[in-house]
C-alpha cells in the first residue's frame, strides 16, 4: 500500500519539533508527545490556538514559553473560533498582499475533551460548518483533569470522577462517551479521524493527511491521564494501547463521509484488562453489570463502524492499492 502520508521514525526524530523541556505537564503525561508528533509531522509552518486546559496551563506559565511556534490562547470554549479569526486574518492579509501568497501556513487548534465535547462544541461546530482551513486536535483524556478530575461527556461509563464519584448507590458515571468523531463526521467536513498516542505512525499519518487538505479537519487522539485515571507514570502509552487492543478506542478515519477502520485487533483483549489497571474503574470489580454495559457499548460502536465501513467508495486522499 502506497503510504503517501507516512513519515519514517527517523525523519520524525530528526524534525523533533515539540514543547521545550521545563513545561509543567505531569510526569508521564502523554500530550507533550502528541504536540511533538503533531508539530514534527507538519511540512508547513503552523500557528496554534489552544483551549484553556492542562495543555495550555502547563506550557505557557509566564514568563516561560514552551511552544516553538506562534501560539494563542484566549479562553476555554473557543479554540475553534479563535483559530477561525487567525485563519480569516491570514486570508485577508494574503488577499491584500500583506502576506505573500506562496507563504503557506497551517492552522491547528488543540483542545481537551472538556473544551471539545462540552463547552467548546458550538464553536467547533460553527468553525467546521464555515469551512475554515484548520485542523482541530482533540486530546482526549476523558475528563476535566485540569480542574481536578471531573466528569465530561467524554468520561466513560462507570468511571469514577470527582463529579461522578463511585458511591454506595451510584457506581460512577452513568452515561457513555459521546461519539465526538462521528458528530464531527456528520458535519460533512473533508477529514475526521480517531487516533491514539500509542500508535505514533497512525497518528502522524493522520495529522499529515489532515494538513494536506484545504478545509476543516478533526482528529481525536487518545491521551491517558496519570492522576485522572490512576495508573503509574510509566504506563500512559500502555493505557492508550490497551484502549485500542480492547476495542474501547478504535482507530478509524472518515474521508468525505467514507469510514475506514485503520486497525482491527486480531484477538481483542477483554475490556477488564483496561479497566483493572486504573483506579477510576476499581469499584467495577464488584459491579459486573456495569462492566457488561461497557462491553455492550464497545460492541455497538464496532457494529456501527463496521457498518459504516461497508460503504467502500473513496474520494481518494490516498492511492488505494
Amino acid at each position: 500500500m502506497a503510504d503517501t502520508f507516512s513519515l519514517s521514525l527517523k525523519e520524525l526524530a530528526k524534525r523533533n519539533k515539540g514543547l521545550a523541556s521545563g513545561h509543567r505537564a505531569c510526569a508521564g503525561c502523554p500530550f507533550p508527545a502528541v504536540v511533538r508528533m503533531t508539530l514534527s509531522a507538519s511540512d508547513f509552518p503552523v500557528v496554534v490556538a489552544n483551549a484553556t486546559g492542562c495543555m495550555e496551563v502547563t506550557t505557557s506559565i509566564f514568563p516561560y514559553a514552551a511552544w516553538p511556534v506562534p501560539w494563542i490562547h484566549s479562553a476555554f470554549e473557543n479554540a475553534a473560533a479563535t483559530i477561525s479569526g487567525v485563519e480569516a486574518a491570514y486570508k485577508a492579509l494574503v488577499r491584500k498582499g500583506e502576506i505573500p501568497e506562496q507563504k503557506k501556513i497551517k492552522f491547528i487548534a488543540f483542545g481537551g475533551d472538556g473544551g471539545t465535547y462540552d463547552i467548546g462544541l458550538q464553536a467547533l461546530s460553527g468553525a467546521a460548518e464555515r469551512g475554515h482551513n484548520f485542523l482541530y486536535i482533540l486530546y482526549d483524556n476523558e475528563g476535566y483533569m485540569n480542574t481536578g478530575i471531573q466528569r465530561s461527556s467524554s468520561t466513560p461509563y462507570g468511571a469514577s470522577t470527582t463529579t461522578s464519584p463511585a458511591g454506595k448507590v451510584v457506581p460512577g458515571k452513568m452515561q457513555h462517551k459521546k461519539p465526538i468523531v462521528d458528530i464531527m463526521a456528520a458535519h460533512g467536513i473533508p477529514y475526521v479521524a480517531q487516533a491514539s498516542v500509542s500508535h505514533w505512525n497512525d497518528y502522524v499519518k493522520k495529522v499529515r493527511k489532515a494538513l494536506s487538505i484545504e478545509g476543516p479537519t478533526f482528529i481525536a487522539v487518545y491521551s491517558p491521564c496519570v492522576p485522572g485515571w490512576g495508573y503509574p507514570e510509566n504506563k500512559s502509552i500502555e493505557m492508550a494501547k490497551l484502549a485500542v487492543e480492547t476495542g474501547f478506542w478504535p482507530l478509524y478515519e472518515v474521508e468525505y463521509g467514507f469510514y475506514k477502520i485503520n486497525y482491527r485487533p486480531r484477538n481483542p483483549l477483554p475490556i477488564e484488562e483496561f479497566l483493572k489497571s486504573q483506579t477510576r474503574f476499581a469499584h467495577l470489580l464488584k459491579k459486573p453489570e456495569v462492566v457488561e454495559g461497557i462491553r455492550e457499548f464497545i460492541k455497538e460502536r464496532w457494529d456501527f463502524l463496521e457498518f459504516m465501513a461497508t460503504r467502500k467508495e473513496s474520494r481518494g486522499l490516498e492511492e488505494n492499492v
Binding site: S60, S74, G85, A88, G126
Partner: protein
C-alpha cells in the same frame, strides 16, 4: 479648518455605522445578527458580496465566537471590526475582558438595547453599562452623524493605544432613524486611519510569540497595572485623534464631554446619547423663561473624564444625572455614581440627584425632560428630594 463641501447622506444609525465600516475596509469582520444591530452586519455582508470591500467576513455562530474570532484576527495583525447589541454583548462579556487585556485594538459598533429579562428589543444602556469595567474605551454617540465619524476615529484611537473601542448609538431611536450624515471621502478615511502597524502577530512564523499565556500571582498584577495605565493614557490619545480629525476635516466634535449653555448655569443636567438631544431643547425652553440651566453631555464614559466633570460642575448648585440603566444597587445608575464620586473633591459640592429613565425603550418625551429640569431647580432651591427618581414609569 478646511472649508470643504461635505457629501450629505440620509442614513439611519445602522447605515451610518455600516458605511463607515465600508470606508474603513477592515481586514476581518466577525459578527452575528441581533436586533437592533443586525442591519450593520447585513449591510456589510452585501458590501462583501458585491466586492466593495476586501474584508474577510466571518459569519460566526454566536457573539461569543464573534469576539473570539476578532481576538484571533486582531492578534494576527488584522484590522478588525464587529457589531452587536444587548444579549450579544452580554454573551461576549467573557471575551471583552480578554480582548482588552491582550491589548487588541478591536472596534465594536454597538447599538444600545435593554438586557433581558424581560426580553425587550428597545433602547437602554444596560448592555454597555454592564461592560463598563471590561477595559474597553466606550464612546456614546448622540446621533447617526456622530456615530459615523466616531467609528472612523475609533480605529485610530484603538490602534494608537492598543485598547479596544466601542462606539454606541441608541437602539431604534438612532439605529433606525434617518438623519443627515456628513461623510468623508473614502480616500480621506483611508488616509486618516492609515495602515495598522501591529507590534506583534501570531502569523509571524519566523518570530513565534505566545499570546494569552497563564499569568499567576507573580505577574498578573503588573500586567493589569499596565492595562490600567493604558486606559489612563488613552485620554490624551482620544483628545489628539478627535482634535486632529476636527482640524483636518472641518468639524467640531466634542472630545469627552459636550457643554450646552453651561456658561452661567446655576444648575445642570448631565445626559448621554440621544436623550441629550431632547434635553438640549428642554434647556432652550427653560432658558427662554429665564432659567439658568445648562446641559453636559457625557460622550466618553471609559476612560471616565472625571477631571473635566469636576471642573465643569464646580460652580453649579445642583445637578441632575440621567441614567438609562440602573445598577440595581439601591443607589441609582452607574453614571450617577461615577459623576457623584467625581465631585467629592470639590470644596463646595453641588447637590445632586439621579433620574433613571427610558428603560426598555420607554419614550423620553419633552414633558419628562422639562420635569427633570424643574426637579433639579427644586433641588437647587433646597428642597429635600429622593436620591433617585424614576421618570416615566407607572408606580
Amino acid at each position: 479648518m478646511t472649508e470643504k463641501e461635505r457629501t450629505k447622506m440620509a442614513l439611519t444609525g445602522n447605515e451610518a455605522f455600516a458605511y463607515a465600516m465600508k470606508q474603513i475596509n477592515p481586514d476581518v469582520v466577525a459578527a452575528y445578527p441581533i436586533t437592533p444591530a443586525t442591519e450593520i452586519v447585513q449591510i456589510f455582508a452585501k458590501y462583501v458580496s458585491d466586492g466593495e470591500v476586501d474584508t474577510e467576513f466571518v459569519a460566526v455562530e454566536s457573539e461569543h465566537s464573534a469576539m473570539s474570532a476578532c481576538i484571533g484576527a486582531s492578534a494576527s495583525g488584522a484590522r478588525v471590526i464587529t457589531g452587536t447589541s444587548s444579549q450579544g454583548l452580554a454573551l461576549m462579556h467573557e471575551m471583552l475582558y480578554i480582548a482588552s487585556a491582550l491589548r487588541l485594538p478591536i472596534v465594536l459598533a454597538e447599538v444600545n438595547r435593554a438586557l433581558s429579562a424581560p426580553i425587550n428589543i428597545h433602547c437602554d444602556h444596560s448592555d454597555t453599562m454592564g461592560s463598563r469595567d471590561a477595559g474597553w474605551i466606550q464612546i456614546y454617540c448622540e446621533n447617526a452623524n456622530e456615530g459615523y465619524h466616531t467609528l472612523i476615529q475609533a480605529v485610530r484611537i484603538a490602534e494608537t493605544v492598543n485598547l479596544p473601542v466601542m462606539a454606541t448609538l441608541d437602539g431604534f431611536i438612532i439605529s433606525h432613524e434617518m438623519e443627515v450624515v456628513e461623510s468623508l471621502d473614502t480616500q480621506e478615511v483611508r488616509e486618516f486611519i492609515g495602515k495598522r502597524k501591529p507590534l506583534y502577530s501570531v502569523l509571524d512564523v519566523e518570530k513565534p510569540i505566545m499570546v494569552g499565556p497563564l499569568d499567576l500571582t507573580d505577574y498578573y498584577f503588573e500586567h493589569k497595572r499596565q492595562q490600567i495605565e493604558a486606559m489612563k493614557k488613552s485620554k490624551a490619545v482620544i483628545k489628539e485623534v478627535i482634535e486632529e480629525y476636527n482640524t483636518k476635516f472641518g468639524f467640531d466634535f466634542p472630545v469627552f464631554i459636550e457643554t450646552y449653555r453651561m456658561e452661567d448655569a446655576e444648575y445642570a443636567i448631565l445626559a448621554m446619547s440621544s436623550a441629550a438631544g431632547t434635553m438640549k431643547e428642554a434647556v432652550d425652553i427653560r432658558r427662554s423663561i429665564g432659567e439658568k440651566v445648562g446641559l453636559v453631555r457625557l460622550k466618553v464614559f471609559r476612560p471616565f473624564p472625571f477631571e473635566l466633570l469636576t471642573e465643569v460642575f464646580k460652580n453649579v448648585k445642583a445637578i441632575g444625572v440621567m441614567d438609562r440603566s440602573d445598577s440595581v444597587n439601591s443607589m441609582g445608575g452607574p453614571v450617577f455614581n461615577e459623576v457623584r464620586s467625581s465631585l467629592y473633591e470639590l470644596e463646595t459640592r453641588p447637590r445632586i440627584m439621579n433620574f433613571v429613565f427610558g428603560l426598555g425603550g420607554r419614550d423620553f418625551p419633552m414633558e419628562d425632560a422639562l420635569h427633570i429640569i424643574d426637579r433639579v431647580k427644586e433641588l437647587k432651591d433646597g428642597k429635600k428630594l429622593d436620591f433617585v427618581e424614576y421618570v416615566g414609569v407607572r408606580e
